[in-house]
Assembly symmetry: D2
Homo-oligomer: 388 residues x 4
Amino acid sequence: MSHRKLRMGMIGGGPGSFIGAVHRIAASMDSQIQLVAGAFSSNPEKSRAAGEELSLDPSRTYQSYDEMFEKEKQLPEDQRIDFVSIVTPNHVHFDPAVKALQSGFHVVLDKPMTLTLDEAQKLQKIIEETGMLFCLTHTYTGYPMVKEARQLIANGTLGNIRKVYVEYPQGWLWKNFSEEENKQAGWRTDPKRSGVAGCMGDIGTHAFNLAEYVSGEKLSKMCADLNTTLDGRTLDDDGIVLLRFENGASGVLMASQVATGAENNLRIRVFGDKAGLEWQQEDANSLIIRHPEQPDQIYRAGGNVSYLSSYALANTRTPAGHPEGYLEAFANHYRNFARTLQAKLQGTAPEKEWLDFPGAEDGVRGMAFIEQVVKSGQSEQKWTSFEA
Amino acid sequence: MSHRKLRMGMIGGGPGSFIGAVHRIAASMDSQIQLVAGAFSSNPEKSRAAGEELSLDPSRTYQSYDEMFEKEKQLPEDQRIDFVSIVTPNHVHFDPAVKALQSGFHVVLDKPMTLTLDEAQKLQKIIEETGMLFCLTHTYTGYPMVKEARQLIANGTLGNIRKVYVEYPQGWLWKNFSEEENKQAGWRTDPKRSGVAGCMGDIGTHAFNLAEYVSGEKLSKMCADLNTTLDGRTLDDDGIVLLRFENGASGVLMASQVATGAENNLRIRVFGDKAGLEWQQEDANSLIIRHPEQPDQIYRAGGNVSYLSSYALANTRTPAGHPEGYLEAFANHYRNFARTLQAKLQGTAPEKEWLDFPGAEDGVRGMAFIEQVVKSGQSEQKWTSFEA
Amino acid sequence: MSHRKLRMGMIGGGPGSFIGAVHRIAASMDSQIQLVAGAFSSNPEKSRAAGEELSLDPSRTYQSYDEMFEKEKQLPEDQRIDFVSIVTPNHVHFDPAVKALQSGFHVVLDKPMTLTLDEAQKLQKIIEETGMLFCLTHTYTGYPMVKEARQLIANGTLGNIRKVYVEYPQGWLWKNFSEEENKQAGWRTDPKRSGVAGCMGDIGTHAFNLAEYVSGEKLSKMCADLNTTLDGRTLDDDGIVLLRFENGASGVLMASQVATGAENNLRIRVFGDKAGLEWQQEDANSLIIRHPEQPDQIYRAGGNVSYLSSYALANTRTPAGHPEGYLEAFANHYRNFARTLQAKLQGTAPEKEWLDFPGAEDGVRGMAFIEQVVKSGQSEQKWTSFEA
Amino acid sequence: MSHRKLRMGMIGGGPGSFIGAVHRIAASMDSQIQLVAGAFSSNPEKSRAAGEELSLDPSRTYQSYDEMFEKEKQLPEDQRIDFVSIVTPNHVHFDPAVKALQSGFHVVLDKPMTLTLDEAQKLQKIIEETGMLFCLTHTYTGYPMVKEARQLIANGTLGNIRKVYVEYPQGWLWKNFSEEENKQAGWRTDPKRSGVAGCMGDIGTHAFNLAEYVSGEKLSKMCADLNTTLDGRTLDDDGIVLLRFENGASGVLMASQVATGAENNLRIRVFGDKAGLEWQQEDANSLIIRHPEQPDQIYRAGGNVSYLSSYALANTRTPAGHPEGYLEAFANHYRNFARTLQAKLQGTAPEKEWLDFPGAEDGVRGMAFIEQVVKSGQSEQKWTSFEA
C-alpha cells in the first residue's frame, strides 16, 4: 500500500510531560506519522523550546492551540496537519478537541476524555456530527494479548462470563510530594485540573475500560469504597469497587496510588462457565487460559504465532519471544488510527482489525464511571446504578 | 528434650474424607504424635474399616465418639489418648469438641469452629473454663513465610497498615456435581451440614483469618456482595467483601468456588506507609517485600536462612530451596500444638513460637465473620459492623 | 487393603544430620512405616540420645549397626524390623547395606550408593542374589510432575529426544566453613568420606539420574570441566559436563555448590522433535510443555487432576493447588517401597506404579557417573565414554 | 539541546525482512533519526516498492548501495545522509560497510560483523583509520537491566567472577522449511550467506557478546559440542560450549535453534564470590541479585527508579512498571549512537553513557568466536584457545 506519512500536531507535551513523550514515541514508531507542528505549552517560551528540541520548523511551533488551528488551516492541503494529538491535563481536553474537530482536524486524545461527563457527551455529539476520526488512548487495550483475550471471550472459549477481577495497584503517591518534586503528582491530585476523581480518574478508568473491553460485558451497577489516604489531599488516591454487569456477572475493580512499593501492574482475570483467563501487564506477552479439566494454556504474543487471532497478529511487530511492551501497546492505537485514517483519505474500506481502537463511546463511559464511582463512594446505599 | 509420643484419637476422617487424610499426615509428619484410636464414621462398618486400614488396634476403633470418650477415659493414663482431632463436617464440631474437653481430652478441630456463632462462643467459654489446649486448623497461617509476614509487620517494616487485599479463588464448584460424583461438593453446598454460608464458610474464613493474622489489624466493618451462581444451590458459592479495619485501613476479600479453572491460590497483599508485601500459596516459600525507593526483596523459607525471624525458622524442616508445602504448613500447627502440650504435660514453659497456632479466638472471630458476611450480603446498606 | 505398619530401623541420622531427619519425616508421613530401632551414631552416647528424643524403646537403640542386626534377628518375627534406612555419609553405605541384606532386612539407602563403583557393583550383585528389596533415595524422581514428564516422553508426546539440559546450582559452599560451623560442609568436602567427587557426587548424580529418568535415554559419553574453586579444597565444588546419549541426543549437566546465592533449584529441560518440556524444583507442582505451533501447556500436580498419568496420580496426596514439596517427593519413594514390600510380604503383585522407585541400577549408574566424570574432568581428550 | 534530526540511509531490509523492519522502528522511535534514503534490495523493483511503502522521496530510493553512496555524496551537506544502516544477510556486510565509511558515512551494522574474521579485522582497521562512528547492533546489551548488571559487576557488588551461565534456546528451526515457507530459515542455514556457523553465528554470538559484556571478563579458551541436528543442513543448528575466562572463571554457553517449542529466551546468570545475578529476556525489566546471607533483590527498570545506575537510567523511556522490550533495547543502540553522532557533529563531548553501544571490538571478537567455536567443535582436543 502506497501512501504518504500522516502529519501530526501536538497540543501539550512540553518539558517534564511524561505522557507527551510517550505519545511522540508511539506516533513515530511505525514511520506512518510525522510530528510537524505543536503548541506544547501554555507558556510560549516553553512551547518554542520544545519545538526546537523536537527539530520542528520554528514557524510551526505555536503559542497556543488556537493559533495552531488558525495557521494550519491556511497552509496548503499537502502541508497542513492531518490530526492533532492532545496530551494536556484533563481540564484542557474538551476545548482543543472541539476546536480541532471543527477546524477539520482529526483527534487523538489522552484519557480521560474530558473534565466532566457533560463535556464528554457534548464532545461525542460533535464527533458524530463532524464525522471526524477520534481515538482515545486507553493504552492497555492496545496490547496484543488483551486483544486476544477479548477475541477468545467473544468466540465463546470462556462460555458465559461470571466473574471479572480487575486491579491496578500503584504506589507512587505513597507520600506527599511538592509540585516541584513531582509534576505528575501535582496536577493529578488537583481537582481543578483532574476532575472529581483522582485515582479513579487516572487509573480506575483504565481498569474499567479494560474490564468492559475484555469481557465484552457492560457495567450495570457498582458499590464503591473510595479513600483519600493522605492528609492534605482532596481527591481519592485509592479505592475498591464492587461491580455488577448487565448479564449478571459480578466483579471487583481495585485501584490504588498509595499501595506502597507497587509499580503499575494492571491485571485482569475473567471467569466464564467454561474456562477462565488471566493477563497482567508485567507479563504482557503471555495470556493464561485456565481450564477445569485440561492443562492450562499459555498463549504468547508474536507475529509468527499461528494460533493467534487476526486482532492479536495485527498488533505485534516481532516474532514470539521478542517482548513488546507499553510503548508498542500505545503505538498500536496510533497505528490503527493512522491506518484507518489513511483508508479514509484514500476512500478505501479499513480492515476490521484497524478499527479496534478506543473512541468516543469508551470516553463517555469512562467519564460516566468517574462521576458515578465518586457518587457511589459517597453513598450509604450499597448499590449505585451505572448509566452512560 | 526427652518425651513420649502424644496419643491422638480421631473423630471423622473415614473413607473419602480429604481433610481426614491431611490431618493424619500432618499429625504423623514429625514423629511426635501417634494415632491410636478413632471413631472415623457415624457408620460403624466404615469406622471399623478405616481403623483396620490405619493399622489401629481394633479395640480402639469405636462406633461413636461418645463410645471413644467413655472407653478411653477408662484406660490407664499411660495408654489413653491425650487429645482428639475432629475432622467431621461443620455440623458435627460442637458436640464432640465439648464432650472431649469435658472428658479431659485436648482438642484439635478443623475449621470453621462450629455451625453457628452461638456454638462457637459457648465452646470458647468451655475451653477457658477447662483450661484445655485447643487448636483450630486454619492451615495457611502455618506457612513459615506467612509467619514471617506477620513478624515483619509487627516489627514495623511496613509502617502503618493502609491496605489489605486477600483473595482465594477456586474453581472446583464450577458446575453442579451429584454427591456421588463429589462427596466434598455434597456437604459443602448443604446448609444443614455447612451452616449459613458456603464459599464464605469454607474458604472465606481462611482468607479472613489470614488477613487479620498477617496484618495484625482487626476488622471493624464490611460490605459484602455474595453470589449463588449455579441454579439449584442454596448457599453462596462466590463473593467479594469490602473491608474496613479498626485502625482505618481498608481492603477487600475475594473468595470464589466458581472461578472456573482456578485451583487454590490463596494470596495476600498488605501495604503500609513504608513498604508493602505479597505472599501467595503457589509460591509459598517466597515472601516479596516491596519498597518505594529500594529494590524489592525476596525473603525465602529455609531452616538455614540467617535473616528470618524465629517464628519462620521454628516452622521449617529443610534448608532453603527444598520446597515445603501445604502438608508441612498443616503439620506446623500440629507440631506447635504438640510441643505446647508436651510442655504442659511436663510442667515447663512453652517457647513463644510454639504458642503461635490458631485457637478459640480465631474460631469465634471466624464464625462471627461467617454470620455477618451473610447478613451484609443481604443488606441494602453499604456497611455492616463487625462484632465478635 | 489391610496390613500392619512396616517396622524400620535407622542407621545414622543422629544429632545434626539433615538427611536423617528428612528420611524420618518421609518414612512416617503416610502412616505405613514406624521407626522402631536405630543405630544413630558411631558414638554410643549420641545414638542413645537420638533414640530417646525419638521416643524409641531404649532396648532398641543400638550402639552399632552390627549390634542392631544381631539383636533384631533374635526378636520374634512380628516385632523385628522389616527394613533398614541407611543415612550415613557415603563411606558408611556399603558395609551396613551388605550386612542388612545378608541379615534378612530390606534396605533403603541414601544416595550415592557407595564410596566407589566397585562397591556399588558388588552391592548390586548381593541385592540380586538375596532377592531383597532395595531403594536408593534419589529424591527428585519422586516428584509427581517428574513422573509425569517421564510418562509424556515415554508415550511419545515429545517425539524423538534431541536435547537435555539439566542443571543443579547451589551456593552454600560459596566460602570455606569450619566443620564446627557447618557439619554438612565438613564431610561433603572430605574425599575419605565423600569419595572421589564432591559436587558431582553430592548433586551431580541427582542431575544425572534425573536426566536419564525423565528422558528415558542412556548416557554414552561425556566431556567434563570440573573445578575446585576455593583454596583448601580437595574435591570438585563445581562443574559442567557435555553429554551424549545413546540415541544421539546431546545435552549438558551443570552442577555447582559455589554459585553464590543460588539455593537448590534443580531444573530440567528436554526437547524432542515434536515438543519440549521444562520442570524445576522451585515450581515443582507445574510441568510446562512447549509446543511449536500450539499454546504451551501447564500440567499441574494434584490427586484430582483428570488428565494426569497414573504414575503422577499415585504420587500425590492432595488436590491441585495444595503445593507438595521436597518432603512429599522423598516420602513417595518410601511409600512406593513400602507398598511394594507390603505386597511382597502378602504375596500379592504390586501395582506397576509402586515399582517406580530408584534401585540398584540407578545406584550403579550413578557411581559410574561419579568415577567417569572425574576421569573426564582430568582428561585432555574431549570425550570420555560412559560405561556402567 | 537543539539539533536537527539525523538522516539515515538503509541497505537491505526490503519486503520480508524481519530485521530491516526492526531497525527502522528502532531508529525512528526517539524522533532523532529520519530515514531519507535506501537501497532496500538487490532487486531494483523490490527496492523501489519498499521505498514507496516507506513514503521515501523516489529519487532517493536506489538500485544498489553503490548508487546510493555515489548520489548521496553529491547532495548538499544539509540534505545528504549522515549514516547508513546495513541490514543485509551476513555475506553483504563487509563491502557496503567499507564503502560507506570511505564515502564519509557513519555506519550502523547488523551483527555478526562480517562473513569471516578476516573481513572483520579489515573493517575494524578501516573504522579506526577513518575515525567514523560504527555501531554493531548486538541488541541485548541495549536492555537497561543488562546495563545495570554490567555496572553492578563493575562496581564490585558480585565480587570476583567465578561462573557464567549463558543460554539462548530457540525452537524455530525445529523442522526443515523451504525457502518459500520461511525466508529467515533460508539464508540462515546457507553457508554462503551465513558464514561458517549457523546457530552459533546467528545467536551464539549474541550470547557470547552478552557474557563478556555483563561479566566484564574476556574469554580465553573453549570446548564446543556443535550439532547439525536435521538432515539436509550444512551448518550447526545447535551447540553447547564450555567456557574459560582470562580471570579463571568458567562457564557455559548454550544455544539452539532446534529446541522445539522454545521461543527466544536469552538468559544469563553470573556468580561471583560475593553474590550472583540473573537476567532473562522474558522478564527483561527485572534483574535478580542473589545474596548468600541476605534476601535476594529485584532491581527494576524505570526512568524514575532512584537506585539504578546512570547507565540503566539513560536507557529507559518510561517509569517503572511500564514494560519496555526488544524494540526499545534495539532503539537504545540507535539512540546512543545518534547522541554520540550529534555530539561529534557539534564538536561537544558525548556523555559516557552514550558511548556504551557495541562497536568494532565487539564485532571482531564475535567473528573470532564464530570461527573458533567451529574449530573447537571439530577438534578432538578438549580445549581450543580463544584469540581475537
